[in-house]
């Protein structure tokens, strides 16, 4: 089931003589084997130095005797397994500071196994399916290989990713709790930013020699709408959109079946016409057959001045647009 979005009722605050500041948390509880609906357990814990959300969960079990299911192994942002939603924001429980009032719920976009435990396997399988390993064609010579720190500039910012999938849990382009499922013509639903970071790690590595464009053009990368929510929640601060998704989108656009080449066509169109010339873009993207079938629509658009048959950009405008493309690095 999906994590519910409703907020739990607030239990009345008990009068207390203790002066230690206390943090209050309402923790999502749900066992599909025994419960018809989720509930929330409320705890109050004494504030401790630098307290993390994970400390609150530990306290709820060890001191309050609640048998809450939550997953973690390391406590220091290595295992990537303690992702939860706190007050609606996807975080790692070990990294996020505890605050006075918290609602702690499971991550979204994944089925709940129990309480705060989610099933990550769809994202992990999507990662494995897209070949997350370095693939060499040139034989490896000897250790250490010759390359410099500059040569790994593209992948270095991605290396600290710990596969927590917190980004994917919050991505609006991920189609529900079963991401990456295969659809028509081998195209799969959007696999989510977390998987794309794994693939970018190898695809952008200077020694990787696998042509990944065929796989990537089927990964619906263009479903990413660059909302940057993944970057906002990433607990290790990875520039996911600019350093993983954008470069992979560039690779996908070169795919042999042309399924993801729209961004290239779009850029060419702007470059040639200085403005968007919708007629030629439509022909390029959809082909002449679809274009001819759309003649009545084109006529209506022409009549209402929504498009033109020919573009006549000035030489100066062309120069300026080319300069912009150059500045943008493409």
């Amino acid at each position: 089931m999906d994590a519910p979005v409703h907020v739990a009722p607030v239990p009345p605050r008990e009068p207390t003589t203790d002066v230690t500041p206390r943090f209050r948390a309402r923790i999502f509880r749900f066992d599909p084997a025994t419960d018809a609906t989720p509930r929330f357990d409320a705890v109050e814990v004494p504030c401790e130095p630098h307290m993390r959300v994970l400390d609150v969960l530990d306290h709820a079990v060890e001191e309050c005797g609640l048998s809450i299911g939550y997953r973690y192994f390391c406590g220091i942002k290595r295992c990537g397994m303690c992702g939860v939603n706190v007050n609606g924001k996807a975080v790692l429980a070990c990294w996020e500071a505890a605050t006075p009032d918290m609602v702690i719920e499971p991550l979204g976009n994944m089925p709940v196994i129990r309480d705060l435990i989610v099933d990550r396997s769809a994202f992990e399988q999507a990662t494995v399916d897209l070949e997350p390993r370095l693939v060499r064609k040139t034989p490896y010579t000897s250790f250490p290989e010759v390359y410099t720190h500059r040569d790994v500039a593209a992948t270095f910012p991605l290396m600290n990713c710990i596969e927590c999938y917190v980004c994917s849990s919050t991505c609006p382009a991920v189609p529900g709790p079963h991401p990456g499922a295969h659809g028509r013509e081998g195209q799969r639903g959007f696999v989510g930013p977390g998987t794309l970071v794994q693939i970018a790690k190898v695809a952008l590595h200077p020694k990787d020699e696998l042509d990944r464009s065929g796989m990537l053009e089927n990964a619906s990368i263009d479903h990413c709408m660059s909302c940057y929510r993944c970057e906002q929640v990433c607990p290790v601060g990875i520039p996911i959109v600019s350093h993983a998704i954008m470069p992979l989108r560039g690779l996908a656009a070169k795919g042999p079946a042309g399924k993801a080449r729209f961004p290239l066509d779009f850029a060419d169109n702007v470059r040639t016409h200085v403005d968007i010339h919708s007629g030629s873009l439509f022909v390029k993207a959809k082909g002449w057959v679809r274009a001819l079938a759309s003649v009545p629509l084109v006529l209506r658009m022409l009549m209402r001045g929504k498009t033109r048959l020919f573009s006549r950009p000035s030489a100066r405008a062309k120069r300026e647009v080319n300069a912009l493309f150059k500045a943008a690095g493409s």
């Binding site: 401790e48 060890e62 192994f73 490896y140 790994v152």
Partner: protein, 572 residues
């Protein structure tokens, strides 16, 4: 209680554990064309001790003089003369010839500079390198290995806890395994078992072991009758962050930092620096010296074990921390300014050098068909690169065995007994009773109070009394919060609690046997290194409900100069 016969899965070789040793073993068995099944209590490559490997060491085994120098350093400073230098030599050669090239082929990025040179400390003879930053190497190695295992479709069961080794007439025939997600106990029958559950044991309130590492591997091997060795050789960390609690495993590396010869300073309550590695230029190992200096500060009242002292990087250029330290971001996140602020530290129970007694040439244990590579063996590794060697040779032995024997007959009575034991732990918590996590916490408190760095016969005896009290009074009051079979971690922790009690008692009793101090092992009632009588391993074996001890000579390739040295002031 369900009496239905558990499901049986057959395989040639079962590998227990998802760290570097287990992965190297499983990949090797698969490559040999045999059937392997890897069982991991957490997630492969994302739980266990391997993810914490911080420094990697380059080896120089091609130069005989350099190799010899390194072996002598390892013998003296790395193990206080208990390790077998012949094993270290083989593991070092494997590291250089196989591990680094293989990992680099997989994409491991050992940090380089803009000219392509590997980044090291100024003291290049220490040979430390990092992937890609200090404090993250193991995580990166395990991520690459995890993807390799998944992509090669090595048969893998994650969130599955092995609860017992099934031994029949001294020969291992398989294991019982508990599927945490679905709450099902089943049997894996195998021709050989590779146990690679690591050196970590979360037995004290502050521990570097990951959450799931509750000494299960040690406890099940001991119960199955395996010889255990040197469990008293328990390593502590002196420089792990004191708060927040969740971050107790966050390590302030005391080794020389990248691109400098400077290293972490420890400061006392008075704010003055009392230790850094540069104070002993000959010594390449800061860890045990940190502990001894800390101990002397505690004795002087200038530090407390649990937070009254500090680690500081104030003398190190900020851009070194920024560019090369993975942990620097953690301190920043808490609001520390590393150019000015000192970080409160606490002492942390780390790994044990001991474990299941192994032959370091084959990883064979005293149980036929059972191999114990990596940190759970007794050969005292402490390096993620060495355990890849262990996993490889254990796999070769297991394959050879699997090719020569048929599937064994299972000891039915043990299967039934284990089935009953595991299911008895699904009993609900009685009124006023405790959750298993609360019992575990009590065990850890006892170990923290009475089995800390400074030990004595009296405190250890008292710890045994306290643990007996837990067994008699708390275990019967322990129960699960819900009897659901779905991801019921109370159930797992109830099994952990039993394993922890067994292992804590054994560790204490082995510690009581060693009547000297050495390496990380300090008894204030025997505060000297006794090379005359104690260049020995402690071996323990279960005999009925009791334990028998014996002592074997350590490998004598390098010898210390003195028969007796004062523990706190000796430099090894």
């Amino acid at each position: 209680m369900s009496r239905a016969a558990p499901r049986i899965v057959d395989t040639d070789v079962v590998v227990i554990g998802g760290g570097c040793a287990g992965v190297y073993a499983a990949l090797r068995v698969q490559a040999a064309g045999l059937e392997v099944l890897q069982v991991v209590k957490g997630f492969l490559g994302r739980s266990g001790a391997s993810i914490f490997a911080g420094n990697l060491q380059l080896q120089k085994t091609k130069d005989p003089a350099e190799e010899e120098r390194f072996m002598a350093i390892r013998a003296r400073y790395g193990s206080s003369y208990l390790n077998d230098p012949d094993y270290i030599r083989r593991a070092c050669r494997f590291t250089e010839d196989v591990f680094f090239p293989e990992m680099e082929q997989r994409g491991l990025y050992l940090r380089r500079d803009d000219n392509g040179e590997l980044v090291t400390s100024h003291d290049r003879s220490a040979g430390n390198v990092w992937a890609p930053n200090q404090g993250f190497s193991g995580t990166m190695i395990m991520e690459l290995l995890r993807k390799d295992v998944l992509a090669r479709r090595v048969p893998l069961l994650q969130e599955t806890m092995v609860t017992s080794l099934l031994v029949r007439d001294g020969v291992v025939t398989g294991v019982t395994a508990f599927d945490i997600v679905h709450g099902e106990l089943f049997v894996i029958r195998a021709k050989a078992v590779i146990i690679a559950t690591g050196p970590g044991n979360y037995l004290a309130t502050r521990s570097t072991a990951t959450r799931e590492q509750c000494g299960n591997g040690f406890a099940m091997a001991y119960r199955a009758g395996a010889d255990m060795q040197d469990l008293e050789m328990q390593w502590f960390h002196a420089s792990d962050i004191a708060a927040p609690k969740a971050w107790m495993r966050l390590h302030l590396y005391p080794n020389p930092m990248p691109v400098t010869d400077k290293s972490l300073w420890l400061h006392g309550k008075d704010g003055k620096m009392f230790f850094h590695l540069g104070m002993n230029p000959k010594v390449k190992q800061p860890y045990y010296l940190q502990l001894r200096h800390l101990c002397m500060q505690v004795q002087k009242g200038n530090a407390d074990w649990h937070g009254g002292y500090y680690g500081g990087y104030t003398h190190i250029e900020p851009d070194i921390m920024e560019n090369y330290s993975h942990t620097a971001a953690f301190f920043k996140h808490l609001g520390y300014d590393l150019t000015k602020d000192l970080i409160p530290c606490g002492i942390t129970w780390h790994m044990t050098f001991g474990g299941i007694r192994t032959d370091n040439r084959t990883m064979a244990t005293s149980i036929e068909g059972l191999y114990a590579p990596g940190g759970c063996g007794s050969h005292g590794v402490g390096s993620i690169t060495y355990v890849s060697y262990d996993g490889t040779i254990a796999a070769d032995q297991a394959c050879e065995r699997a090719r020569s024997v048929g599937l064994p007959e299972l000891p039915e009575h043990l299967v039934q007994r284990e089935h009953d034991r595991v299911h008895s732990r699904l009993a609900p918590r009685p009124p006023g009773g405790l959750l298993p996590a609360q019992v575990k916490k009590r065990v850890r408190e006892i170990m923290t109070d009475k089995m800390g760095y400074v030990k004595s016969a009296a405190r250890m005896a008292s710890a045994l009394d306290d643990l007996a009290d837990v067994r008699q009074r708390l275990l019967p009051a322990m129960g699960v919060g819900s009897t659901s079979r779905t991801w019921n971690y109370d159930w797992v922790e109830a099994l952990d609690a039993e394993d922890m009690l067994d292992l804590c008692e054994l560790t204490i009793r082995m510690s009581m046997q060693r009547k000297e101090s050495r390496g990380y092992f300090f008894r204030e009632d025997y505060p000297y290194i006794d090379n005359k009588r104690w260049l020995k391993h402690t071996v323990a074996r279960r005999v009925g409900d009791d334990v028998a001890f014996e002592f074997t000579e350590a490998a004598p390739i390098f010898r210390p100069e003195n028969e007796i040295d004062d523990f706190l002031t000796a430099e090894y």
